[in-house]
Symmetry: C2
């Protein structure tokens, strides 16, 4: 049993760094840019949501722990991405906790300023909706996988998903999957041994390539 998930590391994904809300607007609406260390907890499951969060630098993981210490990763957020809006706008307690995976900087803005910002900026508001909708898409996808499919299918789906986010030309190029076996396990509801065995089998069957220990697809 892993006692705690806090010593994990997620490498930075390349890709779009476009911010959900641009810095100038954040500043204009009383957001503070706060420096954070590695493994710093930003909020905890069950607490009330009071602020809007947006990553400026570093990475943030949202996760839940069950009583056995098993973790499930609800999402990973990279620079430019916002997180923790659902409890803020839906008026319910945080369903998961958030922790930094690297030192970095985080924007924080009180709810009232956030709502005013949305009121004044329709395009940003629509952008937020797009973000929420894509997050629902991701959750639907993972839920479908976890509820009905075997380990190989789950891993293939998540690897393809991240490849499509990373690669400029997903159909032509190969990318290195930027996750450890443990991270893949935490995102797919599998155990690390199952991920290791399944990945090995997939390599043997020619469904992906292993370079050293790195997964290429």
């Amino acid at each position: 049993m892993r006692p705690s998930p806090v010593f994990q590391y997620f490498p930075i994904l390349p890709g779009k760094r476009k911010r959900v809300i641009p810095s100038s607007l954040l500043q204009a609406y009383n957001a503070r840019l706060v420096k954070v260390g590695k493994d710093q907890i930003l909020f905890e499951e069950g607490r009330q949501a009071l602020e809007y969060f947006q990553v400026e630098e570093g990475k943030v993981k949202m996760y839940v722990l069950n009583p056995d210490g098993q973790e499930f990763t609800q999402g990973i957020f990279s620079p430019g991405e916002s997180f923790g809006e659902p409890p803020l706008l839906g008026d319910f307690p945080y369903p998961s906790s958030a922790i930094t995976l690297e030192a970095g900087k985080i924007w924080r803005m009180p709810k009232s300023d956030f709502v005013q910002l949305l009121r004044d900026n329709f395009e940003i508001h629509m952008k937020l909706d797009q973000v929420l909708c894509r997050r629902l898409q991701y959750k639907s996808m993972i839920l479908t996988e976890v509820s009905s499919y075997d380990p190989e299918h789950r891993l293939m789906t998540i690897i393809r998903y991240f490849k499509s986010k990373i690669a400029k030309h997903p159909s032509r190029e190969q990318v290195i999957v930027p996750f450890t076996r443990q991270q893949l396990a935490d995102m797919t509801g599998l155990r690390v041994e199952t991920v290791i065995r399944t990945i090995k089998k997939m390599e043997k069957d020619g469904k992906l390539v292993l370079e050293g220990h790195k997964i290429k697809y």
Copy 2:
């Protein structure tokens, strides 16, 4: 194996019938109110999203089928509730299909009118965000359950969730769970036999009450 999920029945949940968008606004923005029969497919997985949908009367189920014919229910929508917005606002194909569970009436509105409506009505726009956020909450909850917990915990969580939606005073009153064993199975990623056995065991352990075959909690 169940060959098809179309002959299922979800009883109407009592509770808030408040519309996400009021009828007057729907009409003002070119929405059409369409009569639908039972078991009518409204859209299918993989198709492009072009319209906003809102239930006026009846019930709608969103579901995915895996190649073995196993179903997973992504959501059930009652009068007043909207559905299918994520692919519309997030610009991706439908991740699931939608089917009516009863004859009824459905509002349909083209995307361009929907976006204009949001632009003109900030309060509705915020209401939509609340709806999307609560849907994310539901999915996070189910995902946490399906990824890490045993059948009893999964069933308890979903029964509690629906009780909190139905009951006026969830802590004081008992409600009858308005789902069949098969429906509970489809929502929790379990098999119907597992649901039956687990529910029986929970009754024996005094965790819920069976009245005839109806589950009371």
